[in-house]
Amino acid sequence: MHQVTLEWRDGREVTVEVAEGETVIDATEREGLGVPYGCLYGACATCTGRLLDGDLVHVERANGLKPRHRRAGYVLLCIAEPHSDCRIEVGAEVQADLVPNPWK
């Protein structure tokens, strides 16, 4: 069991307990926190968060992230299990960081 603190960009902060073998999205759904998600297998990146602190492991291939995203700390919470207490930035706006408007 690990304590995972979720931080939204509007300042909201919630700490949830994530059990062994549970993904962060499993836990946020159990607690009714409304963290976005889509495919649930690591392809679509709707559930993108940014790891601020701690040890968070993808248990399946994070196909929806490119190497540059991984290096910048972005994680896919539908396939991510904490191996320590963690702090993660969450919310719909985080996904929008991944690919900016290419022409602007």
């Binding site: 889509g38 990146a45 709707t46 196909n63 929806g64 996904q95 690919v99 408007n101 022409w103 602007k104």
Partner: protein, 467 residues
């Protein structure tokens, strides 16, 4: 035939062995002239990728001008799960099922683009729909397919859905076939997919034994957002595929190269005799015409080129981004949207190889003078289109795809998108924005939603194919 009744007709049709009763209309002209005005719209609406803790839903919009709730969202049918990204949807049967006695146009097949979940809705009463069956993603993944997109009912009691990826969200995609009787999975539709890897939309002309499919990209490529590096690396489509409809075999690839990057929506004329059509190349912002030569080989040419435009706030010229196209039931007018520019255009296509621009409406986007309607900011720009059966009203929504909205119109992710309408005057070749019509999905019960594809009970300009 009332538009809100599940359609069924006993009329004799213009081709062989036609003594049976089936759903739909005997000809495109019968659908255009004998159906009444649309009174209800089904509008896909989604919460995926928003800070709204809710499911995607089908919005039921009142289109009856005599009604007290005209131009309002009167009902929502919520999906049982979150995160689906409902996108496109279709009917269990249409005019293509004219040989199938007793079959009704009474079920909607509603796929989740991200979840790969497929919902079957009983829509016999369009104002009181119910979810009848859910095909869970795991059942789809067993066929090594994902990301369901275009739904067409096809002759022989089947439903065929284009699938954009394999079970890992990678290439190749394929086609999933369902049985109309119980919506069980038959398996892959295609017998031989040849060199087809990417998939998106498809259209078919059974009288000429042809089906044509288009290309987006692998789900894992387009799901997270539009990255130009992926275009440069060849990860986005630039071709369409010609299939033998009966034998379900890939026959020919039409490669467009630079002229046809990301060919999305495809329309063939409703006239079942026609062996040509249009595809909208979203990124190249061209309309391409394709046709069959006398030797059975298919050719193509560019017939409309939307010029990119300079914008003071953008570093690079802004492409139009042709994201949806629709042909009127009489095949006389083509409409398409330029989602980044902010206009929706009307072309006279009575000479199919020489489309003639007759009118356009500017509303929202990056270039329209009009950025408000009824005091409401136009979030996004004309995108998914649907034309009335009589060709006199065109409706559209303004959201494209959750992650792509985030890049180009991020306000949609916070406040939802809109449904708008214009009156069309086909006899005069012009349109007028209806400023009295607006459905703001930002005010949807339970929180803002992104409105997407639109359909009418009883069939529409993008649902029906004739044998």
């Amino acid at each position: 035939m009332s538009t809100d009744e599940p359609s069924s007709t006993a009329e004799k049709h213009g081709h062989e062995h036609h003594e049976v009763e089936g759903p739909g209309y005997p000809t495109p002209a019968a659908m255009r002239t004998e159906s009444e005005r649309e009174k209800t719209a089904f509008v896909i609406a989604l919460r995926v990728g928003m800070d709204v803790d809710g499911s995607d839903f089908i919005g039921v919009v009142d289109l009856d001008p005599e009604s007290d709730t005209y131009s309002e969202l009167v009902d929502t049918v919520e999906m049982p799960n979150k995160g689906d990204e409902l996108h496109h949807f279709g009917w269990n049967s249409c005019s293509s099922s004219c040989h199938t006695e007793g079959l009704m146009r009474d079920h909607l097949i509603v796929p989740g683009q991200r979840s790969s979940r497929i919902h079957i809705l009983d829509a016999e009463d369009p104002r009181n729909m119910e979810i009848e069956k859910v095909i869970e993603p795991e059942e789809i993944f067993e066929y090594d397919l994902s990301a369901p997109h275009t739904v067409h009912c096809v002759p022989g009691g089947k439903v065929v859905i284009s699938m954009l990826g394999d079970a890992n969200g990678e290439l190749p995609g394929g086609f999933l076939q369902l049985d109309q009787s119980d919506f069980s999975i038959d398996g892959h539709w295609e017998a031989d997919r040849g060199d087809m890897e990417m998939n998106y939309d498809y259209w078919y002309q059974p009288r000429h034994n042809v089906m044509i499919s288009t290309e987006w990209a692998a789900p894992k490529t387009y799901y997270p957002g539009f990255d130009l590096d992926d275009v440069e690396e060849g990860k986005y489509g630039d071709s369409i595929h010609i299939w033998d409809w009966e034998n379900k075999e890939h026959q020919q690839t039409l490669n467009f190269g630079e002229e046809g990057q990301i060919p999305l929506e495809i329309r063939m004329p409703h006239d079942p005799e026609e062996t040509q059509g249009y595809v909208g190349a979203a990124l190249s912002s061209n309309i391409l015409r394709f046709w069959e030569e006398s030797d059975g080989v298919w050719e193509w040419e560019k017939v409309i080129d939307v010029e990119s435009r300079e914008h003071p706030d953008w570093d690079m010229p802004v492409p139009g981004l042709v994201t949806d196209i629709v042909l009127s039931l009489d095949d006389q007018y083509l409409f398409f949207s330029n989602w980044l520019h902010g206009d929706m255009r009307m072309y006279d296509v009575s000479d199919f190889g020489n489309p003639r621009l007759v009118d356009r409406i500017w509303a929202g986007g990056n270039f329209a003078d009009r950025q408000e309607i009824q005091g409401t900011e136009i979030r996004g720009a004309p995108q998914m289109l649907q034309l009335s059966r009589d060709g006199k009203r065109i409706y559209w929504t303004t959201s494209l795809f959750s992650s792509w909205d985030n890049q180009f119109y991020p306000e949609i992710g916070e406040k939802g998108s809109l449904m708008m309408k214009a009156d069309v005057y086909p006899d005069e070749g012009r349109m007028e924005l209806d400023e009295d019509f607006l459905v703001d999905f930002g005010d949807a019960p339970g929180g803002p939603a992104r409105a997407h594809e639109i359909r009418w009970p009883g069939g529409d300009c993008t649902s029906d194919v004739w044998q």
